[in-house]
């Protein structure tokens, strides 16, 4: 048992009368994350199983079709940038949690906001990417790559969207002083969600964008 847990114990003594000494909400959230692993796992599995089976372009990476060289549609620099932003927002998230636990409200609010802001930039990049692909002729219906790519990254994007709304809600609450150190668990759980979304992107980014 770690001391981190002991600190949480001290923060809310009455609520932690559980068999494991762990908070039920946090445990439920981890279980939910476990379920999400299978959701994303299945999406990634279908992406990989259908990889390279599209019958018409656009294709993700450059390749040779009928002796002709075809450019890949994925924009690696743009996505590397948005990956960087998402990682940074995870850093902002841990800082926000740290300040919340220490009761430094203004900084907690600021970092919560910056986390949400990073998420919004990531979403902006994704919207740009999707519309760009749309104009290039890649739709949900075009080919297997389009279907699997849009569903996988779109499902992740939907999670980011929910996360941004979640974080903005917490930012508002924190700004109004409704999240003190005794309620740091709320921020911690939001953090778990946010980092999980980040972890999924850590898996998707190489599998979809970097590995041909």
């Amino acid at each position: 048992m770690s001391t981190a847990n002991a600190a949480v114990h001290a923060a809310h003594p009455g609520h932690l009368d559980t068999s494991t000494g762990l908070d039920s909400r946090k445990m439920a959230f981890w279980t939910f994350i476990g379920s999400e692993c299978l959701l994303f796992g299945s999406l990634i599995a279908t992406y990989l199983a259908n990889k390279g089976k599209s019958t018409v372009g656009p294709y993700p990476h450059e390749m040779v079709v009928d002796g002709k060289h075809v450019e890949g549609i994925l924009n690696i620099p743009l996505t590397s940038f948005s990956t960087f932003i998402l990682l940074m927002s995870s850093v902002a998230m841990v800082l926000a949690l740290n300040y919340t636990q220490r009761g430094i409200r203004s900084k907690a609010t600021l970092w919560l906001f910056l986390t949400a802001f990073g998420g919004s930039i990531f979403l902006g990049c994704q919207v740009y990417e999707f519309t760009h692909f749309w104009h290039e002729g890649l739709t949900l219906q075009t080919n297997l790559f389009g279907s699997t790519f849009y569903l996988l990254t779109g499902f992740h994007g939907a999670h980011v969207t929910v996360g941004v709304i979640y974080l903005l809600t917490l930012t508002t609450l924190s700004a109004r002083g409704r999240i003190g150190p005794e309620k740091a668990l709320n921020v911690e759980i939001a953090g778990l969600y946010w980092h999980f979304v980040d972890v999924i992107w850590i898996v998707i980014f190489p599998l979809v964008y970097l590995i041909k």
Binding site: M1, S2, T3, A4, N5, A6, A7, T20, G21, L22, K26, M27, W30, T31, I33, G34, S35, C37, L38, F40, G41, S42, I44, A45, T46, L48, A49, N50, K51, I76, S80, T83, F84, L87, M88, S90, V91, M93, V94, L95, L97, N98, Q101, R102, E188, G191, L192, H195, F196, D198, V199, I202, V203, F205, P206, L207, Y209, L210, I211, K212
Partner: protein, 115 residues
């Protein structure tokens, strides 16, 4: 990093310091840069496709574990949480590997063995 981790565990507040989190963030960025370099190297023909895939895979696994262990606190938290997370994560991996084997690898093996 071990000494730093130990220091954190003995820390009274029990939460890693900002500096520690920023260091982890720096490592994550570094690993991402290496991943992208792997991609670039493959495009320029420095390594083969297989090597690049392996390198990028290992790097992203390292990132995965860094975020899960430090940012999601599994390293510092109860082992029950680790179990609750790892079991489905392993099943998810099984689904990915299983479907990939069935659709992409076994047909090739079958062909090479003359089935």
């Amino acid at each position: 990093m071990t000494s730093e981790t130990r220091e954190i565990i003995h820390d009274q507040h029990a939460h890693p310091t900002n500096r520690f989190y920023i260091v982890i963030g720096g490592i994550l960025i570094l690993l991402t840069v290496l991943e992208i370099l792997g991609y670039v190297g493959e495009t320029r023909g420095v390594f083969s496709q297989g090597t690049a895939a392996l390198v990028i895979g290992v790097l992203s696994a390292a990132k995965f574990f860094a975020v899960v262990a430090y940012y999601m606190h599994l390293k510092f938290d109860s082992r029950i949480f680790t179990g609750i997370f790892l079991f489905p994560a392993m099943l998810g991996t099984l689904v990915i590997v299983g479907l990939y084997m069935a659709q992409q690898i076994l047909p090739r093996w079958g062909a090479s063995l003359g089935f």
